[in-house]
């Protein structure tokens, strides 16, 4: 294949993905008026998404906090500005590193699982079985999952912030010798509500994007077990790109 043909193929693929996602968003939006998500399914989805991702989010956030503390300390020790550790840390973690790493982890844990689950239902014709029972898969399967991911990603980000703070304080104390009091004071003094809210908005947007993308890829599966594998692969890739693009847009708008 020549380079031109390959480039053309890539552009066509991109158009196909964007087109499919747009159509899918359309059908999800239509299902929202009037809102008719299956209530029982929504509760179950919330429960499953939360249980499934809580441990991984805690671990990720804790280490993300530790990493941020070390990196910020590298700057801070250079300028002997120990009282700025908490500030630099909070800024980096709450606004960027926290939501970004938690979002990518969430996409891997929950999004990929969701694509695999819906994909398996599709290839084993369970989705068609639902249609025959006059149950709309969008109401019954898709909306509950998207709602669950949106809500849980936002809540988990709050929990993640707490654990990131713990990870940062412990690491700063153990490695740099920053007294936790100094850390806490500089943190509370300089880190503003807006940093926290900025992270929260990002988390909600990521949750929504992961929900839409993972459901769309799951319902698009064709061709048995390898098809499910391919869909999971494609879903996490598109989610990751979506996370970075949204992060950029929100950062640009929120200042």
């Amino acid at each position: 294949m020549t380079a031109v043909a390959r480039l053309g193929g890539a552009v066509l693929d991109l158009c196909r993905v964007v087109g499919a996602l747009t159509l899918f968003c359309g059908s999800v939006l239509r299902a929202l008026i009037p809102p008719r998500a299956d209530r029982v399914e929504t509760w179950r989805a919330l429960h499953r998404v939360g249980v499934r991702s809580l441990p991984i989010v805690i671990v990720t956030a804790f280490f993300a906090g530790g990493i941020a503390a070390i990196q910020v300390s590298t700057y801070v020790t250079k300028f002997r500005a120990y009282e700025a550790v908490g500030w630099g840390f909070g800024f980096v973690t709450f606004r960027e590193l926290g939501p970004l790493l938690v979002g990518l982890m969430f996409s891997g844990r929950v999004g990929a699982h969701n694509t695999a689950e819906l994909g398996t239902m599709k290839v084993t014709e369970q989705i068609d079985a639902l249609r025959i029972l006059a149950i709309d898969p969008i109401h019954f399967l898709v909306l509950p999952r998207i709602i669950a991911m949106l809500v849980m990603m936002t809540l988990l980000n709050v929990i993640g912030d707490v654990f990131a703070l713990a990870g940062g304080m412990i690491t700063a104390y153990a490695m740099v010798g920053v007294d936790p009091y100094v850390f806490w004071n500089s943190f509370t003094e300089y880190v503003m509500l807006i940093d926290f809210v900025n992270g929260l908005i990002k988390a909600a947007a990521f949750g929504l994007a992961i929900g839409v993308v993972s459901c769309s890829f799951g319902l698009d599966v064709r061709g048995g077990a390898p098809g499910v594998g391919r869909a999971v692969n494609g879903g996490v890739v598109v989610s990751a790109v979506g996370i970075f693009v949204l992060d950029y847009l929100i950062t640009a708008v929120m200042q």
């Binding site: 890539a10 499934r52 441990p55 991984i56 671990v59 990720t60 280490f63 993300a64 530790g66 990493i67 070390i70 990196q71 300390s73 590298t74 800024f91 606004r95 960027e96 970004l100 790493l101 990518l104 982890m105 996409s107 891997g108 844990r109 990929a112 699982h113 694509t115 695999a116 689950e117 994909g119 398996t120 290839v123 084993t124 690491t171 490695m175 740099v176 048995g224 077990a225 390898p226 098809g227 499910v228 594998g229 391919r230 999971v232 692969n233 996490v236 890739v237 990751a240 790109v241 970075f244 693009v245 992060d247 950029y248 950062t251 640009a252 200042q255």
Partner: protein, 257 residues
């Protein structure tokens, strides 16, 4: 492999996963030292892993560079009223931390799932048993080419990703804050140690991701559900490994500094 529902089940599952990963790592090390070098297979994997991820890495890391410079620029204009130094402020962070680690996460996402899906499909269709029947141990025949390819390609992708972040950041600095590209690129803050730290991380991820993802694939059981389960396990475990390795290497370099 049903999802564990109790804490004890959860711990046992993680323990089994770690034991299996260590086993695959040990075997791959053995075959790396002594086994055959199947260059066509390594080349094919390098193409699959490297070439087909380039676009993805450039897009993601490009946006990352833009985001970081936006953040740095807004802070700099707010606090010191001058955004001319944002290149010097952001690039060390990109080289040391964000470049390698987010490239690593992207490779875990794009390549880790691919490896697990491919090997997992071979396991559930007994092709891996057929390999073991014919003097083709999976650690040598399947894992080794992917490992070698990742060891070369992850540092290469990281370099490309950092470059993408650099130029995207330069564009943002120029258009959003009017920073002269020459000024942006004029930093002597990226010292050798930063580069070493970034590349050590990239190399570590290049070793960890293929081993963890292959293990997830080799652990697959059952039909299409098993393959789906293996893919999720691969992306979660290898992303987590990236974060933990980042933490460990950052810590060691900080102490050395």
């Amino acid at each position: 492999m049903a999802e564990p529902t109790t804490l004890a089940g959860f711990v046992a599952e993680i323990r089994a996963q770690v034991v299996d990963t260590a086993d695959v790592a040990r075997q791959s090390a053995w075959y790396l030292a002594r086994g055959r070098w199947d260059w066509p297979a390594i080349w094919a994997q390098a193409h699959e892993i490297g070439v087909r991820s380039v676009f993805f890495v450039i897009v993601c890391l490009g946006f990352l560079g833009a985001i970081i410079n936006l953040q740095a620029g807004f802070q700099a204009t707010r606090i010191i009223g001058d955004a001319s130094l944002i290149g010097a402020q952001s690039m060390p962070l990109v080289v040391r931390l964000l470049g390698p680690t987010l490239t690593g996460m992207m490779v875990a996402t794009r390549v880790g799932t691919g490896i697990a899906a491919e090997i997992g499909s071979m396991v559930v269709t007994e092709q891996v048993d057929a390999l073991r029947m014919n003097r083709a141990p999976p650690a040598e025949y399947l894992v080794k080419p992917r490992l070698v390819a990742c060891m070369i390609m992850v540092p290469a992708l990281t370099t490309i990703g950092i470059t993408a972040a650099f130029f995207a950041g330069m564009a943002v600095a120029a258009f959003a804050f009017g920073t002269n590209p020459g000024t942006y690129a004029d930093f002597d803050v990226v010292v050798g140690l930063d580069l070493v730290e970034g590349m050590v991380k990239a190399a570590a991820y290049g070793v960890a991701i293929p081993i963890i993802a292959s293990t997830a694939g080799l652990r697959a059981r059952g039909g299409s559900e098993g393959v789906g389960e293996a893919t999720t396990q691969a992306v979660v475990a290898s992303s987590l490994a990236v974060i933990v390795l980042d933490f460990a290497i950052s810590g060691v370099v900080f102490v050395l500094r």
